[in-house]
């Protein structure tokens, strides 16, 4: 049984249909990249997976347990499923260290000293231990996003959702963020990425899913999707990416 099973989900905002029976499976330790035109629901899918948005039909199961619908403890779900946003969303009134330790202290009831020691270990790993006492606005975009990843990792999640985490960054800052994701993938973290970085997706993904018209239009290993897409829509999308010089 797959770790994450998304079965036939439906969602719409008013008349605007986002998902019309989308299904997708993710195995443990897999890195799945979601690609597709903007507005196709990549971000929404990730937000549904940790309960920030609700779905109107179908279900999402993790380890066989249904994680959608009434009665689900979303706070507990979010301890296991971390998310990192496009716009970092660090808390501007807290230092880097406070950002990282807030949830472990308040949600996991860790002792402050333990949480800080763990946070410092994580910050050291991404080379930002000297920024621990700084406020987020003093950091570059790349540094902020690395802190946001560490903030999610400090909760010890079993799945990490990455929502276009490099889209708001200057080009020269992208690699420092992607290197962390690469390391996490090598360590076996189960991840779902919504991304426009096709080169990176090709490199780290175990599976590429092309989302279109509220469904997974085509999925497969990166070599197959990028090398020999079967569907006309996938081909047209990738052609536009190539024309833009992004692949």
């Amino acid at each position: 049984m797959a770790m994450i099973e998304i079965r036939d989900i439906h969602k719409s905002y008013g008349d605007h249909k986002i998902f019309t029976g989308l299904s997708l499976e993710v195995e443990e330790h897999q890195v799945v990249c979601l690609i597709g035109p903007s507005g196709c629901g990549k971000s929404t899918l990730l937000r549904c997976m940790n309960g920030l948005e609700s779905i109107q039909g179908g279900e999402i199961r993790i380890h066989g347990d249904r994680m959608t619908g009434p009665g689900v403890d979303v706070n507990a779900l979010r301890r296991d499923v971390g998310i990192v946003f496009q716009s970092f969303n660090l808390f501007p009134h807290m230092t880097v260290l406070e950002n990282v330790t807030l949830a472990p202290i308040k949600v996991l009831n860790e002792k402050r000293s333990d949480a800080e020691a763990k946070a410092m270990t994580l910050l050291k790993r991404i080379g930002l231990e000297h920024k621990a006492k700084e406020y987020p606005d003093r950091l570059s975009g790349g540094q902020q996003q690395r802190v946001a990843i560490v903030r999610a990792l400090a909760m010890g999640p079993m799945v990490l959702l990455l929502d276009e985490i490099t889209s708001a960054l200057d080009p020269e800052l992208v690699s420092e963020v992607l290197n962390i994701v690469r390391d996490l993938a090598a360590e076996g973290m189960t991840m779902l990425l919504a991304t426009h970085e096709m080169g990176f997706a090709r490199e780290v993904a175990s599976k590429i899913c092309f989302l279109c018209d509220g469904k997974v239009h085509e999925e497969g290993p990166p070599a197959e999707i990028f090398g020999n897409p079967k569907q006309e829509r996938t081909r047209a999308f990738l052609q536009r990416i190539i024309e833009a010089g992004r692949l």
Binding site: L52, N89, L90, H93, V107, Y135
Partner: protein
């Protein structure tokens, strides 16, 4: 094809068709008019100043404070006015430089001199406006044999009643300090109640809305009157024995709690929803998200408008005189009616103004410090 022969002209590419002259190449406008106005106005203001200084001198004689020192001060004031002529003259000189440059077809120099001339003329007019305002105020005070000064600023009476009034002012300070602390807590409770999410929260939201609507619309003076006189008549246990000051604190807390709740609400709603998403996605509950992420950021943003409401509250402590509490205003009214002179009330007015100024500066500092700490670029 006349425009193509014009040495100041030029042509753009004909994207829109037709020829187009380089219109920024026109010579600067003549500014002699501004310069003349500046000189005329500065002379006028200087004459008016001497007229007023003469009136003030007459007033010092009436008050019996005339003498060498007073006259020396007035002479110095008269000399201080004179430099107003300097920018006016500069304006005139620059306007002549501009004219000469233009005659030599030197456009760049003409523009520089024109701009300088205009700037000097504006300086003159700006300072003249400020001085004229001061003169009007001074004339108001000395007019009609010092009638205004005697009515509002009778110094001997202000001096003799000052301590009595300052002592009574403690009542005002006590009321607003206690009320402000209560308002801070009560306002936040009302604001959070108004933002309780979900269908189940609807009754709570409604109660909060009704409260805010009621107490924001109710004049503070009526509220104080009803609570101050009413609650002691009800015979309710404990409440009926409140002091007048406590009734005032209760009334002002209820009124200003409604205002401050709205300020809190605006602050909370101004925090981008992505902050809520980030906090909730880490597993924080709704209340934890409010407590640790949203409210701390909101409070930083609302400090300046909060000060506005606090100053309003402080001033409204003067309304407690309607329930007979001997605060500074009531005390001043008693002294004023004993002496048939309003100067003690002026003392209260000045006291109220004086306490707000340090608060305004304190809040400026607070905001500045916070921004320096959190924002990029500072240190």
């Amino acid at each position: 094809m006349s425009s193509s022969n014009d040495n100041r002209g030029g042509r753009t590419l004909g994207l829109l068709g037709g020829e187009r002259r380089w219109s920024a190449g026109t010579p600067p406008k003549d500014v002699t008019g501004w310069a003349v106005t500046a000189i005329f106005v500065s002379l006028l203001v200087i004459c008016a100043s001497y007229y007023t200084l003469r009136d003030i001198q007459a007033a010092t004689v009436i008050l019996g404070v005339d003498g060498v020192i007073a006259n020396a001060i007035l002479v110095i004031c008269g000399l201080v006015i004179l430099p107003l002529l300097w920018p006016a003259i500069q304006s005139w000189r620059q306007s002549q430089v501009a004219k000469a440059a233009l005659a030599k077809n030197n456009l760049v120099d003409a523009r520089v001199a024109t701009a300088a001339s205009r700037d000097y003329a504006y300086y003159t007019l700006g300072f003249a406006a400020a001085i004229v305002t001061l003169l009007l105020v001074a004339e108001f005070f000395v007019a009609n044999n010092l009638a205004v000064s005697r009515t509002f600023f009778l110094l001997p009476l202000i001096g003799s009643s000052f301590w009595t009034i300052l002592k009574a002012f403690w009542i005002n300070i006590y009321i607003f300090v206690v009320a402000e602390i209560l308002v801070l807590v009560w306002g936040l409770i009302v604001a959070v109640a108004r933002l309780v999410p979900g269908e189940a929260g609807r009754p709570i939201r409604m109660m909060s809305t009704i409260y805010t609507d009621m107490f924001r619309g109710l004049p503070a003076i009526i509220n104080i009157y009803l609570i101050g006189f009413g609650l002691s008549l009800t015979g309710l246990p404990w409440v009926k024995d409140f002091s007048q000051e406590s009734f005032a604190i209760l009334a002002l807390t209820l009124t200003y709690g409604a205002y401050v709740a709205e300020v809190y609400r605006a602050g909370i709603e101004s925090i981008h929803w992505s902050q809520v998403a980030a906090a909730r996605s880490l597993g924080l509950s709704y209340l934890q998200t409010m407590r640790y992420v949203i409210v701390p950021q909101a409070v930083r943003r609302i400090i300046p408008p909060l000060l506005n409401d606090f100053i309003g509250l402080q001033k409204d402590t003067a309304l407690v005189n309607v329930i007979g509490s001997i605060d500074a205003f009531n005390q001043a009214k008693i002294v004023a009616s004993n002496h048939f002179n309003l100067s003690p009330v002026t003392t209260v007015a000045i006291l109220f103004i004086l306490i707000t100024i340090p608060q305004a500066r304190f809040v400026d500092k607070l905001v500045e410090r916070d921004q320096r700490r959190m924002r990029a670029g500072g240190s």
